[in-house]
């Protein structure tokens, strides 16, 4: 990638002066390149990898992905490799499993790379982007009806420990289609610090649906080195970019859990004694997250696309946690799972009120004319119902007016019939919108249908079509 670096050969040093957290300080080095790849060899011959975080005349700071446990200052050797971190990519990666740095771990043969790409990529020129507008049908009502996913969108799932976010992510991956189109697709799945059991769940899901041949898996499990997690998302996205922009595939990237990425970043920052921003996270957390999320999208004159669904845990349900909050600022909306709905036995426990898809108004221009308005109407009714629920808790249901009671029962039915659905239930958009119309007809008087234009009501409401399933 860099003209200056190609001239450099590997240089080996045995001059470690300090080991602190995941960092090594190597003395007497004068020509380490910033971000240069480093091979670390312990006295016993074990090989680890690292990169240069800071380079100066006389010393260089190296971050070791596998951690520094077992390293010493006397016998450990450090070799600067003369290149930055690269990912070998190839179409043969489909169907294979790699570790968090992109090395195969499924016992299969090494990948014969078609190309070696820089792991951090380069920023997409904003004037080369194409606005995502193609509606992806996930078959899940509360997403398709009220928080649509578009091709090229980044839409995270904000969740809490113990909620079925994995089930939901797998269901989206299984069911996502563009109605009426058969195109070449691929799934890139990156596990960041999750358990082996969770990773196994995803593998089984993808195997069962036959998507396994279209799947590239990167595993950095809870037991794997934590520092490696800072590159796993980039390795996965570099692969996704290769498949999308050089092989015209539509790539769906699922990454779980971004919180672990943030924590790895914090660990390195603390070891470098940097001035922290919020809650001990480094001030550049936003930029680092953006450099991951913004790699998704669509590009002019290119058939492929990267659609991105990261899973982010909100510790203790705290949506203001820095990793969650900053993710929300970068991504194009968020799907929020709540414990309240989960306790009621609703699946997916996705609360549409705080959820949002920023690209929905554009996506729905190409679906059905009633789609957006119906969504607004559902929002309005369900938020009325929520407000009334808190009121009822104080004053009792008797104090409510007739109108209020209608909204209250709407709220219940909405959760049971619209949000709730089976893990293997795949509803097409027409079915989803039909459920929405029927809920309105049954519970809300027509004089309250303020968000619906009269011609939309006349044109799409089943009541006026003369058939009511």
């Amino acid at each position: 990638m860099s003209a200056s670096m190609s001239a450099l050969k590997a240089r080996k040093y045995r001059t470690i002066s300090e080991i602190s957290g995941p960092l090594l300080i190597v003395k007497s080095v004068n020509d380490a390149a910033y971000n240069e790849l480093v091979k670390v060899e312990t006295g016993s011959g074990e090989i680890r990898t690292g990169v240069v975080l800071e380079s100066a005349e006389g010393y260089s700071v190296v971050q070791v992905f596998e951690g520094t446990s077992g390293l010493d200052v006397d016998t450990t050797g450090v070799t600067f490799l003369g290149e930055t971190l690269k990912v070998p990519v190839s179409r043969d990666m489909l169907g294979r499993i790699f570790d968090g740095k992109g090395q195969p771990i499924d016992g299969g043969p090494a990948i014969l790379p078609e190309e070696e790409l820089d792991v951090y990529g380069a920023p997409i020129n904003p004037s080369a982007r194409e606005y995502p507008r193609e509606f992806i049908q996930t078959g899940i009502s509360v997403i398709d009806g009220m928080n649509t996913l578009s091709r090229g969108q980044k839409l995270p799932i904000f969740t809490e420990a113990g909620l079925p976010h994995n089930l939901l992510a797998a269901q989206i991956a299984r069911q996502a289609t563009i109605p009426g189109k058969e195109e070449e697709f691929a799934i890139v799945f990156a596990a960041i610090g999750i358990t082996a059991e969770e990773a196994m769940f995803f593998k089984n899901e993808f195997t069962r649906t036959g998507a396994i041949e279209r799947l590239v898996t990167f595993l950095n499990l809870a037991e794997n080195p934590a520092i490696e997690r800072v590159v796993t998302p980039h390795v996965a996205l570099t692969t996704a970019e290769f498949l999308a922009y050089e092989n015209d595939m539509h790539v769906l990237v699922i990454m779980t859990d971004m919180l672990n990425y943030g924590e790895a970043l914090r660990e390195i920052s603390a070891a470098r004694a940097e001035v922290p921003g919020r809650r001990g996270y480094p001030g550049y957390l936003y930029t680092s997250l953006a450099q991951i999320y913004e790699r998704c999208g669509r590009i002019h004159s290119n058939k492929g696309s990267i659609t991105f669904i990261p899973v982010v845990t909100m510790p203790g349900g705290d949506i203001t946690h820095p990793v969650v909050d900053l993710s929300g600022y970068i991504t194009e909306g968020q799907l929020i799972l709540t414990r309240e709905l989960h306790r009621k036995g609703i699946y997916p426990p996705l609360n549409p009120l705080p959820s949002l898809s920023r690209l929905m108004k554009e996506a729905t221009r190409y679906t059905r004319k009633d789609h957006m308005q119906l969504s607004d109407m559902m929002y309005y009714c369900y938020s009325e119902a929520q407000d009334l629920r808190s009121l009822v808790a104080v004053v009792g249901e008797e104090a409510l007016t007739e109108r209020d009671r209608a909204y209250l029962s709407f709220g219940e039915a909405f959760e049971r019939r619209f949000i709730n659905q089976g893990i293997y239930e795949n509803r097409d958009l027409d079915t989803t919108l039909e459920i929405a119309w029927n809920l309105l007809i049954e519970y809300i008087p027509e004089s309250e249908w303020k968000r619906l234009d009269p011609d939309v009501i006349k044109g799409y409401c089943p009541k006026y079509r003369g058939k009511k399933p």
Binding site: M1, S2, A3, S4, M5, D31, A32, A33, Y34, N35, E54, S55, A56, E57, D118, G121, A122, P123, I124, N125, P126, S127, A128, R129, Y131, Y245, V275, P276, G277, R278, G283, Y284, Y286, T287, A290, Q291, E294, G297, H300, N302, T320, P322, D325, Y329, E332, G333, Q334, L353, P354, D376, Y379, S383, L391, V394, V395, A399, L400, T401, D404, K450
Partner: protein, 600 residues
């Protein structure tokens, strides 16, 4: 700027976007330098003996100690001249369209491209004659840059004297000499259509004036309750998903400024794409020309280098000042100043400066103030009396939606208008989600006269009445939360219904609806007057003993709700029709009542 031999130093240390070079004696603060074998662009931000600390505007991967750092002798500057409108630039004014044609969809490193097209010929019309006296800021000639904007070619600040040569009307490119000016010492100054200006130095003007005119935005909640003036400053803070960007886009679209500068500072790439796709299609209501013709965009998205993000706001505001100097009203939107502050924090951290609150540098407040102070309505340089203005509207993205954080608080100490975006309103899809109880505008008094003269004499009374009702609503809702709505007297419940109408039928505005997206002041006045007339009539009817439920069933309420969708030309008619219907329908309710009463 005197050009000596360029300084050539060597890289001594690299940490992220910050590079330290030695052997840099002779270079100056904020000088542009070329860093490393790739010729990355950087700017000197600290000098110490022969060491220079440089913030690099491109990704620094692969740089090594010992590589060259070459001074340019120039400060970080922008190019100003015809060809600047409709452009999209990165944070240091590299034209992204040109970059795209040379490096493809991804931005490669070490690229340079002139900000303004060099070859293009512009039709220059001279406005002065040989022998005439001119001073800095005087207009030498004009170029019709787009159908919307006449670009005025000005004498650069600091130059004055007698016109020795002025080009005849004809086609010139921006580097050709179009005038020569002999200063009092006899020296000749060549003037081209293009000039350069260092971004960190405010462009000079004669005097600052008090603002008197509103910057109308066509957004009901803003123009009615929290207006901004031409030359004023405003902040829009809000958590994610509250609609900062949509509001900024709306302002960029509808603000009645002559020129718009939009800075996408550390935000999403797709948001810039949206503007790039939409603005060429959107038409200026007056001329029917694409809005793009009055717009300049600076896009330094979140994944682009962080140091260039720091520079982007200065690049933007310098361009804005340049058009102000032509005598135009310019509106500048910065989305988001928080990302700019974070860039400051990141660079400061790399410099190992002593941090202030939440890791931000202690000079955060001062930098924000300097930036917003570049707004204002001014008498420009030049011998004729010309008035121009720059209005600055900054979005703020507080972490966790917490308004007590340093960037929001430092901004509030400076700006005069505060549009507080509210997460609870956004959850209910009440957009624009500007909270009417916590927002404020300090320009209300200033603008009272203007609205009285230009909209309606009773504008202020209506506004006050509506705001009082909304205040009352929040008190009543407290009571409802404690004891339920049944405990309220009929009149108070009527108030709640009216305020619901103010909220839903007036304050809520649909940004993507062809009619509702923009609302003229006249339409605002008629809508508000109609709702308040309804309020008055309802109160009267209730006093006469008509139950609220019956009033609420009146079909005319539907007409009021749909008033926002009535096109501007028909609004007067519609308002009269509604008033007539309301009177009629209430009349018949009353009649029915009178018949019923004797029967009891």
């Amino acid at each position: 700027m005197v050009m000596n031999m360029p300084v050539v130093g060597k890289i001594a240390r690299i940490a992220g976007p910050v590079v330290v070079a030695k052997g840099m004696r002779g270079s100056q603060m904020f000088e542009l330098v070329n860093v490393g074998d790739l010729n990355l662009i950087g700017e000197i931000i600290r000098l110490q003996e022969d060491l220079a600390t440089i913030q690099v505007y491109e990704e620094t991967s692969g740089l090594r100690p010992g590589e060259n750092v070459v001074g340019t002798g120039r400060l970080l500057s922008v190019e100003l001249g015809p060809g600047i409108l409709t452009q999209i630039y990165d944070g240091i004014q590299r034209p992204l369209e040109v970059i795209k044609s040379s490096s493809g969809a991804f931005i490669a490193r070490g690229l340079t491209a002139p900000a303004l097209p060099r070859e293009k010929k512009w039709n220059f019309k001279p406005k002065v004659k040989v022998g005439g006296k001119v001073v800095g800021g005087d207009i030498l000639g004009e170029v019709s840059e787009t159908a919307l904007i006449t670009h005025k070619v000005m004498v650069p600040p600091g130059v004055e004297g007698e016109v020795d040569y002025i080009a005849a009307e004809g086609e010139y490119n921006i580097e050709e000499v179009i005038a020569r000016i002999r200063d009092p010492t006899g020296a000749l100054h060549e003037v081209q259509m293009m000039q350069r200006w260092p971004v960190r130095k405010p462009r000079p003007y004669k005097t600052k004036l008090d603002p008197v005119q509103p910057l109308l935005t066509g957004q009901r909640i803003i123009d009615t309750f929290f207006p901004i003036v031409k030359g004023g400053t405003a902040a829009i803070p809000g958590g994610f998903g509250t609609g900062k960007t949509v509001t900024q886009h709306q302002l960029a679209q509808w603000a009645d400024a002559k020129v718009i500068v939009y800075i996408g500072c550390g935000e999403r790439g797709n948001e810039m794409t949206e503007m790039l796709e939409r603005f060429p299609e959107l038409r200026d209501p007056k001329s029917g020309r694409p809005l793009m013709e009055r717009t300049i965009m600076i896009a330094n998205t979140s994944n682009m280098p962080v140091a260039a993000r720091e520079a982007s706001v200065y690049t933007g505001v310098t361009i804005a000042e340049y058009f102000r100097d032509m005598g135009y009203d310019v509106a500048l939107m910065a989305d988001s100043t928080s990302r700019w502050a974070e860039a400051l924090r990141e660079i400061s951290g790399r410099l190992e400066e002593m941090p202030g609150e939440e890791g931000y540098p202690p000079y955060l407040g001062a930098r924000l103030a300097e930036f917003y102070e570049r707004a204002g309505r001014v008498v420009t340089l030049g011998s004729e009396e010309r008035i121009g203005s720059v209005s600055i509207i900054g979005a703020v993205s507080p972490p966790g939606g917490d308004f007590s954080e340093p960037v929001v608080q430092s901004t509030l100490r400076i700006v005069k208008v505060f549009w507080a975006l509210d997460t609870a309103l956004a959850y209910r899809r009440h957009f624009p989600a500007i909270n009417w109880l916590t927002s404020y505008s300090l320009y209300l008094e200033t603008l009272e006269d203007w609205f009285k003269k230009n909209v309606a004499p009773d504008w202020s009374e209506l506004r006050r009445e509506a705001m009082a009702l909304l205040q009352k609503e929040s008190e009543l809702l407290e009571i409802v939360r404690l004891v339920g709505p049944d405990a309220l007297p009929e009149a108070d419940r009527a108030t709640l219904e009216v305020t619901r109408m103010i909220r839903e039928d007036y304050l809520m505005q649909h940004a993507y609806h062809p009619v509702d997206s923009y609302c003229s002041t006249e339409k605002m006045y008629l809508m508000l007057k109609t709702i308040l007339y309804f309020n008055q009539k309802v109160k009267e009817a209730i006093a006469k003993g008509i139950p609220l439920v019956e009033i609420l069933r009146l079909p005319v309420r539907e007409d009021i709700a749909r008033m926002k969708l009535v096109p501007y030309e028909k609004i007067r008619e519609a308002a009269e029709e509604i008033k007539r219907k309301l009177d009629e329908q209430l009349e018949s309710l009353l009649k029915g009542r009178e018949v019923a009463v004797p029967a009891r």
